[in-house]
């Protein structure tokens, strides 16, 4: 009899423990975003300060190499989500929204919506911009003696077979196509990128690789390639780590933005704490801290005032008037056509 009572008591205690654990678990927010250098810096600049301010919430950063894998994982978990928040590319977030993965993003999630730049809000996407990045010109300081100021440096014959370009379907290639098109006299990239493609065909014979690995920054830092294109934020961080070997320039013709958005997963396990984190991530303080840390331009218009001049000058914030307004949701519709043009008319010329 006593034994049974003991057993019951032990069982109840175990049950209570399990319940307590699951209650505690509810305060663990799982955030998925890019792994590697992004993760390192985002955790330092945003996640850790958030957890310090909210000791009852733990943010678990689940890093993945790209937005596509994030979407794949979110799809697989659609019936029982384990992830609360995703930071991913805006065009992938559109697909996720269409599939009902993200909960609506409104004032109940964050009070900062009104302060975000208009580019941070895309119609039909249940997620808002959390970082702005832009394409830049990269060069190896040993191989390129005069600091280039124009994208045209890529076409300079002295760097033949030393040019590193991440080709389409990578969106660095897509952004580059739009910039080139504008430089070559194109007026509406949604209608046609013909002028850009013709100009890219001239670049093709000079290209060393269309598929720089592990990314475009390493081969240029090490001198395997002399010049190329890449994203500003990563380039700035790698430039600091390269002992001055990697040079980064925002060319005078301007550039185009890449937008990472933050979205709340519908039915995620830690909904309330997750909303709290999203609100924090979009706040001027967090935005400013991440710009200082990794040179992504802020999406909150009130953040700029908090950022040092030095950090701000390494983003596109000072050159907003020169930036091409790329509508990524429209570009998604013509992406296959651009890829086809590259494959038929550009890449074959480099063989």
């Amino acid at each position: 009899m006593t034994k049974t009572r003991h057993a019951t008591r032990a069982g109840l205690a175990a049950l209570a423990m399990a319940l307590a654990t699951s209650v505690a678990m509810a305060d663990t927010v799982v955030l998925t975003a890019y792994s590697g250098i992004f993760q390192e810096n985002y955790v330092k600049a945003v996640v850790e300060p958030f957890m310090k301010a909210n000791p009852d919430i733990t943010v678990e950063f689940y890093g993945m190499p790209n937005s596509a894998q994030m979407l794949g994982t979110l799809r697989a978990q659609a019936s029982a989500p384990q992830i609360d928040i995703a930071i991913m590319d805006v065009s992938v977030a559109k697909a996720a929204t269409d599939e009902g993965i993200f909960a609506p993003m409104d004032e109940s999630v964050t009070k900062h919506l009104a302060d975000l730049y208009p580019q941070a809000k895309a119609e039909g996407v249940n997620a808002v911009g959390v970082t702005f990045d832009n394409l830049v010109l990269l060069y190896n300081t040993d191989k390129v003696k005069t600091v280039p100021t124009s994208w045209n440096a890529l076409w300079d014959a002295q760097y033949a077979k030393q040019v590193s370009i991440p080709a389409v379907p990578d969106i660095q290639g897509t952004t580059f196509t739009i910039i080139t098109d504008k430089m070559a006299g194109g007026t509406n990239y949604i209608e046609s990128v013909e002028a850009g493609i013709n100009r890219l065909a001239e670049l093709a014979p000079l290209v060393q690789t269309w598929e720089p690995r592990p990314d475009v920054y390493q081969p240029i830092s090490s001198g395997t390639a002399a010049i190329g294109i890449g994203w500003n934020a990563r380039a700035q961080v790698y430039a600091d780590l390269s002992d001055g070997k990697l040079g980064v320039v925002l060319p005078e013709e301007g550039s185009g933005f890449q937008i990472n958005v933050i979205g709340l997963v519908k039915g995620g396990p830690a909904s309330d704490s997750a909303k709290k984190f999203i609100d924090y991530a979009l706040s001027p303080e967090a935005q400013a801290a991440f710009t200082e840390q990794m040179f992504y331009a802020p999406t909150n218009s009130k953040a700029a005032a908090l950022i040092s001049e030095k950090a701000l000058s390494r983003t596109a914030a000072g050159a907003m008037d020169k930036m091409i307004d790329i509508n990524w949701l429209e570009v998604a519709k013509i992406r296959d056509a651009i890829t086809e043009q590259w494959r038929r008319r550009v890449i074959p010329l480099s063989r």
Binding site: S91, K94, A95, E99, K161, D170, Q208, T224, A332
Partner: protein
Amino acid sequence: MSAVPTTTPVPAAPRQWRDGELAVLLLLPIALINAIGFILPVLNLARYSFNKSRVGGGIEAVFTWENWAGLLSDPFYLELVFNSVWISLAITLTTLVVSYPIALYLHRASGAWRTFLTVLVISPLLTSAVVRTYGWIAILVDDGPVVGAIKALGLPAPSLMFNIKGVFIGLTEILMPYMILALMAGFGRLDPRVEEAARTLGATPSRTFMKVILPLTLPGIALGCLLCFVLAVSSFITPKLMGGGRVFLLATEIYDQAIVTLNWPLASTLSILVLIVFGAALWAYSAVLRRLD
């Protein structure tokens, strides 16, 4: 001594398995694992190939032949299949030619020397293909040692990296251990006495090789070729790293469609197509084996 008839006690009869019963029982676990881990995902993949892809990576769960029709009518994809098959065949053949003498030598070696050489042959498998590929990049780039040596000889130096040549060299080296092991496994039928007999009867070394050694090692050759062809068609890291974005193959295209463009239905269609190519290779292999028997 006369034989004394003895009666040995008859042991209790063990449980008799009916024909096939034991086989089914033994095959059940692996069949189950295969069904869950392979058949189901492949069926799922086949189903995906009939879904419709939306702009930006969305998937619409409908039933459409669009992906298949698109694939079969677009010359780019037909070229992709053709390229993948001929490049893989050429790599397989090259791997065979360079591996055969090594395998034959290893088969004839004995003792510690043989063990040492075998370990040497297998050791590349202990390093990841990614690491070896990066090694090749360092060796074959335009300012690397190989191109440098060719230039030093006063010859026109070809570009060996970030093009089809790089993929060819890299994959051949990566596949060699597999080919050598498959060949050695198939060399079991090669009895040295048969070779000796051929030589005693006056056959020249080349005739002995063509008429005796080669026919006897054909099963090993067929096995090695099947293995290397399948590995070559499905390899994507080496073409991705060494092809410089100029070499379009089935495996790299599946990666791009699945991971970059997010067109999962098209990626699934291409994957099923690769499976069909594998089926054809397997059919050719069994046809060769039947002929040999």
